[in-house]
């Protein structure tokens, strides 16, 4: 017997939130079987669970391991649901180019921000780590990005963030993009000094800042 919508959505959210990949994936199959709208299952099930996980991370109930395992559960269930999305479900999403600046390969922080932005409704173009500075500019132009997110853990590479902003200015396209910076040695003062549009000190607040600078309505 097909399960009720509310129950399915709750199990999808719980599977993600409670690090239970098996529950999330099995429930995703239930959702398909029950003929539940895939978009509904994703946004009101999986994403709701992941957003709650993000809140717990913000409250220091969850930490990096928990958030990464939640995201594994979410993406595994998403793989089941995505083929069933209707064509008109492709929403217009804000585009975000993200990466770790040249000279640095530490990418856990970047990956968390990427995850939360993805869940937060941004379309992500991940350039990875140790990214040549010009690549940020090229990719942002190519995809007509709204947002460029720059990350680093190292003091020797943080000035690369200023260089990216200078490159945008030199091409006369600085005002086409919002630039967000973050990472261990980065501070609001540093962000202000190099003329970035925003700074966040963790992945959850990064989404809030990204939505603010991009003028995306915040969920209540």
């Amino acid at each position: 017997m097909a399960r009720a919508r509310e129950e399915i959505l709750q199990d999808l959210a719980d599977g993600v939130l409670n690090l239970d990949e098996e529950l999330a994936v099995n429930t995703a199959h239930d959702a398909v079987e029950a003929g539940l709208d895939a978009y509904d299952a994703i946004t009101n099930g999986l994403v709701r669970g992941m957003n709650r996980a993000g809140e717990l991370y913000d409250e220091e109930e969850y930490f990096v391991p928990e958030l990464l395992i939640c995201s594994d559960a979410m993406y595994a269930a998403l793989a089941v649901l995505e083929p069933h999305l209707k064509k008109d479900d492709s929403r217009v999403r804000q585009r975000c180019v993200i990466g770790v600046v040249e000279g640095d390969t530490h990418d856990i922080g970047k990956n968390l921000v990427k995850l939360m932005l993805d869940v937060g409704g941004f379309e992500i173009y991940d350039l990875g780590r140790n990214v040549p500075l010009a690549d940020f500019v090229e990719k942002a132009k190519e995809v007509n990005a709204d947002l460029i997110c720059l990350s680093t853990l190292m003091t020797t590479t943080m000035n690369g963030m200023a260089t990216v902003i200078e490159m945008l200015k030199e091409e006369g396209i600085r005002d086409r993009f919002k630039v967000l910076v973050g990472g261990g040695p980065i501070s609001q003062a540093f962000a202000d000094r190099i003329g970035a549009d925003g700074y966040a000190d963790n992945a959850a607040s990064a989404v809030r800042v990204a939505k603010k600078v991009c003028n995306v309505a915040q969920a209540a």
Binding site: P65, G103, T105, D107, M154, T155, T156, M158, S187
Partner: protein
Amino acid sequence: MLSSLIPKDNQTSLERVLSYLQGQNPQRIACFPLILNHAARVLGVPVGKCIQDAELFGKAHVAAYRRYGNDLITFLSTTSTLAEAMGQRMNFIEDDAPQLAEPLVKELDDLKKVKVPDFTRDGRMPVYLQATEYAVAEVGSEVCVSTVLAGPFTTAAALRGADVFVKDLYRNKEWVHELLEICCEAGLRFIDEILKRKSLPIIVEPIGSASLVSPRTFKEFVAPYLKRMSDHIHANGGGLPAVLHICGKTKPNWGPMLESEWDIWSLDGVDMGEAKEFAGHRVCLVGNVTPANLLTNTPEEIDAEAKAVCAKGMGSPCGFILGSGCEVPINTPGENLDALINAARKYGRFDL
């Protein structure tokens, strides 16, 4: 500022540090800026070259001490050095610290590839140990020389890749303990080698930071092994203190950190006043001027920040040492380090 306004020291650095161990107040507090790769700048050699050559590595740290008068020489280029000696490959960079290459332990079965190093030849163990010998011989009678190694949790994360390792904490608990066991054994043997050379072993456990893992994880996977390391130092160190540095946030873990019985905590992203209140009766506290500020701020701003840290840390029952929260950035201007150490001379006095 005018150098005439900075009070003169009347103790050698070593006398100052020994005062703490004897439970006495020094003339003024010690200052431990964590000068690591920045030492190459003082010698004027590229970082990548300095940290792969025992002679340059040793000379750079002695030169940094002679230039700044820091109260602790700290031999470390990256927290992955023990993992490197255990088989982890590194990417060496011309003028920066090396970074981790592909993890050695890609599959669970790769655990069998992980070995306790041969300290006479594996990785850069000879570089660290020979540089240590050099510094101890050269300036060991006037300043405390330390050799720094990562704790088991950080070493394990380096061998496995931190992103995969943190998931293993849930999915492969028993396996994680097996890996930590080897990393702990390697660390204990490294401590023995350091002690043999009359250097102070210091343990850093950045991956155990509360910026990354929960207090529950810390209690289960970090604290038990840290306790074994502090026990080992107490049993074999001839009275040397057990010194632990954890970068980032640590406050949620202060309870289990206390239980793992370290004598000195070097702290980063915390309020030193809160640390004093929580642990000052049990441990000597080191910290915690913001590392990135050392790179970007003016000497006046460093002085003001250090003054505020001293105001919080001074009077801590088991002692307080002014320091940087984490590594002094490689390109830190010399005058900012001078400002930090002068702040210890100005705001950390017991003789006035």
